[in-house]
């Protein structure tokens, strides 16, 4: 049950129960003991009934009368994200002025918006909002749940004026069998994120970061030699993030996680072995990855924010997280393209996020939702792209992603121009990454399940000097094949 539902339940109990439970007092104003007991029992039963009623997922937001439409939208920033929350609320107000017949009800589902267990619970319980946030890898799960609807016929230039400019690859991940199930609102691809301060201290050239994994290894050795618990290169191996980064690094080597037909695992090969061998060599051969392993997403970024990580692979928004959530500084960080095996990377992992539409919405609600997404997420200069507003805030302007609009389109040009004109981060720090694009490869189907399995292989080479890479990959391959066979 989501947070807002439980609050509703409590409110209903608090407001409604007394009305139904108010006893008829005796003349002296006192109730007899049996009366108390009966009243208490009835109040308890009534309270429970109301609580259960409040938990129901009945959609009561449809108000077609008088052309008024109400939609609920999740992923409203949380209270701690003060600037983002203020911006969101201001946008809701401005949008409602622009469309007086539409009311947006915002719901916050945590800073991360899609913590997979919470997301699955909301989806399975049917308590998602009318427009609900999801990752690009969630499409299959969302369709399987039966909680979403395809919106193909409503996605037009009238509802999303920039739709033709939206990147085809981003659209494709929300499309299944030719039907549109979601609208992309953010995308990313991975590169090498590095700490300029530590590079300088280690005598490395900030303008010439490693381009190959051999160079990464050499640089990591020099950075970790600084001591003080600094890891030259840091990597995930827990909470499914290990598998996520294994995939990204495998793509850089030119590999793929599953065969083209999606039926078999395809990482137990020379490229998969090279990925793990390189990590094992850095961890135990060079001792350049630090003692602490089994790192999940917040662990690595906490260390990075504390200046204890020289390099890691990540997307540009990793620097945003380091600064806004882990007390780091933008000026310490820069990005380069993903390193390759013996030159530029052959591919890099791309992903992102978007919004789905809850099953059973009226045509007016869907159109209202699309208009909101167009306003908040897909219009240069507005909503998430309102760089003039973000510039004085602690939000980065000038990062090379998201790139939601296809290069060459008017929307893309407008977005890039606005971003550069209002940049509050040093554009040079991200120029290498932006100017040397690597082919982007989407995440595999069943991504989270596959990532969970590969965590084990990653943790194996990072925590056990005697781990057999062949055995780790074989075990992971068998497990992934089983998941793929199950469909």
């Amino acid at each position: 049950m989501p947070e807002h539902m439980s609050i509703a339940a409590v409110q209903v109990i608090a407001e409604e129960a007394p009305d139904h439970a108010t006893p008829v007092p005796r003349r002296d104003g006192q109730m007899s003991a049996p009366q108390y007991r009966k009243v208490a029992a009835i109040a308890l039963a009534a309270g429970l009934g109301f609580a259960l009623a409040a938990c129901s997922t009945k959609n009561d937001n449809k108000d077609a009368a008088g052309g008024k439409v109400t939609i609920t939208v999740d992923c409203q920033p949380v209270g701690a994200q003060k600037d983002l929350l203020r911006n969101w609320n201001a946008d809701v107000e401005a949008f409602q002025k622009l469309h007086p017949n539409i009311t947006i009800k915002s719901v916050s589902v945590g800073a991360q918006c899609n913590n997979p267990p919470d997301f699955t619970a909301r989806l399975a319980g049917g308590t998602v909002t009318d427009l609900f946030y999801g990752y690009m890898t969630d499409l299959q799960q969302v369709i399987d749940s039966g909680q979403a609807m395809e919106i193909t016929q409503y996605v037009t230039k009238e509802t999303i004026p920039t739709w033709d400019s939206v990147d085809q690859a981003a659209k494709a991940v929300f499309t299944d069998e030719g039907k549109i199930w979601g609208i992309p609102t953010k995308n990313y691809s991975m590169g090498l994120v590095y700490n300029k301060n530590l590079f300088q201290q280690a005598g490395l050239d900030v303008k010439n970061p490693p381009k190959t994994w051999a160079e990464v290894r050499e640089a990591a050795k020099k950075i970790s030699a600084l001591g003080n618990g600094i890891a030259g290169y840091s990597e995930y191996s827990a909470g499914n993030t290990g598998g996520w980064h294994f995939t990204a690094t495998l793509y850089a080597h030119g590999g793929q996680m599953v065969t083209a037909d999606g039926k078999k695992a395809d990482f137990n090969n020379a490229m998969g072995k090279q990925v793990l061998q390189n990590l094992k060599d850095m961890r135990y051969g060079d001792n350049s990855m630090g003692d602490k392993q089994l790192l999940g997403w917040p662990d690595l970024l906490t260390n990075a924010g504390a200046g204890k990580v020289g390099m890691f692979i990540g997307a540009p928004d990793a620097t945003t997280a380091i600064v806004t959530q882990f007390q780091g500084k933008y000026q310490d960080w820069a990005m380069a393209p993903m390193p390759g095996p013996d030159g530029p990377a052959k591919g890099t992992l791309g992903g992102g996020e978007g919004y789905f539409f809850k099953k059973g919405l009226s045509a007016d609600q869907i159109k209202a939702g699309l208009l909101w997404l167009a306003y908040e997420k897909l219009t240069p200069g507005k909503g998430q792209f309102d760089y003039v507003r973000s510039k004085p805030q602690n939000e980065p302007v000038g990062l090379p992603q998201p790139v939601l609009f296809a290069p060459g389109s008017d929307a893309h040009k407008q977005d890039v121009d606005l971003r550069k004109a209002n940049a509050n981060v040093n554009l040079d720090d991200f120029a290498l990454f932006e100017n040397n694009p690597v082919p982007i490869k989407a995440e595999p189907r069943n991504a989270q399940a596959i990532y969970a399995i590969l965590d084990s292989a990653m943790s194996g080479v990072l925590t056990d000097p005697n781990a057999s890479i062949d055995a780790l990959l074989k075990t992971a391959e068998d497990k992934v094949n089983q998941i793929l066979a199950a469909g």
Binding site: P34, R37, K38, A40, A41, I42, L44, A45, L48, L52, P116, P117, T120, A121, A124, Q140, Q141, I143, D144, S145, G146, Q147, G229, S237, A238, G239, N240, D291, K292, Q293, L294, L295, G296, K359, N446, Q448, A449, A452, D455, S456, S459, G460, L462, T463, D464, A467, L472, T475, D478, K479, Q482, I483, A486, G487
Partner: protein
């Protein structure tokens, strides 16, 4: 207001109401007398029905279904077959049983001996009890994060490693070592949970008549003799109940691997059955498989409880 006397009724003394002459049946009276009790029961029954029995039945039903593209179909034993063939299935059961055995050795025995020790103290009893109970008051997640970041830090900065180093003993990588993962989890779990068990044992110990110890002493029993021949027999019922609760609880091992080991731990060394259920349900888009594994666990625990209850009943009878 005029009182109308209905034929076949009589006036109750001191009342203006007229009630039927025929006395209510015994059953009817019993129901009416217990009306308040039934009203109270409704809440509890509804709570159990909605939050325990319904989810349990729903879980069993789900374990025989499969939902794809919003369509749910009956698939017989397919989910069970898939779960049993999951390469992590055996590992998860082995890990869980290993944890249960270790927890039985340490997590079960340690609180009992701590209780005996506390029972012997004559001074600062309340203070010591509060001290032992304190970890229970910490939210489990907070306690485990303390262990993860401060106690089991694999570098020399970790609390345990610093102590081991000061004693010139070899240090450990704790959660990063496949061999130490389980013992480390048992240790943290015992520290976190033993307060409650200690209090229960203490209450049981204080019910043992002092004369029994005096008699044992007169018979020449030492401290171990008194524990073996007085304390354990006198607390046998509570000990056997706690053993069963302990086993059922530890078989559901979840939060320890999730927080201390990031879920699966190094090379699956922390994967428990409950964690595998979580993985299937919340990460693998496989709620039906998760339900099947949940049912398997339910059957195993119910079977264990039944056998245990039977054995202890037989033992009590002898």
């Amino acid at each position: 207001m005029a009182i109308v006397t209905v034929p076949g009724t009589r006036e109750q003394p001191g009342s203006r109401l007229r009630v039927p002459v025929r006395a209510p049946t015994r059953r009817g009276r019993r129901v009416r007398d217990n009306l308040t009790g039934y009203a109270f029961l409704i809440g509890a029954v509804l709570c159990f029905a909605f939050f325990s029995w319904y989810p349990m039945i729903r879980g069993i039903v789900m374990s025989f279904q499969r939902t794809r593209r919003g369509v749910t179909t009956w698939v017989g034993w397919d989910n069970y077959e898939r779960i049993v063939n999951d390469p992590s299935f055996l590992t998860a059961w082995k890990n869980t049983l290993y944890f249960t055995v270790l927890a039985l050795i340490f997590g079960y025995a340690v609180p009992f001996f701590v209780a005996i020790l506390l029972n012997e103290f004559r001074h600062a009893k309340g203070y010591l009890r509060a001290l032992v109970y304190l970890p229970v008051m910490l939210p489990p997640a907070s306690a485990l994060f303390l262990f993860k970041y401060y106690v089991y830090d694999p570098s020399d900065a970790g609390l345990f490693n610093a102590v081991l180093k000061a004693l010139h003993l070899p240090t450990s990588e704790w959660m990063q070592s496949t061999t130490m993962t389980m013992p480390a989890m048992v240790l943290a779990s015992t520290w976190m949970n033993m307060g409650g068990a200690v209090l229960i044992y203490l209450a049981a110990l204080q019910n043992i008549p002092g004369e029994l110890y005096e008699a044992a002493e007169l018979d020449g029993a030492g401290i171990w003799g008194r524990i073996l021949h007085v304390t354990i027999p006198q607390t046998r019922l509570i000990l056997s109940l706690m053993a069963m609760l302990q086993i059922v609880a530890t078989m559901q091992l979840f939060i320890e691997p999730l927080i201390l080991a990031g879920g699966a731990g190094t090379q699956d060394s922390a994967t428990s059955v409950a964690y595998l259920i979580y993985q299937h349900g919340f990460f693998q888009n496989d709620l039906n498989g998760a339900a099947a594994l949940g049912v398997i666990m339910l059957v195993v625990l119910a079977g264990f409880s039944a056998v245990y209850a039977r054995l202890t009943a037989r033992q009590d009878a002898t």
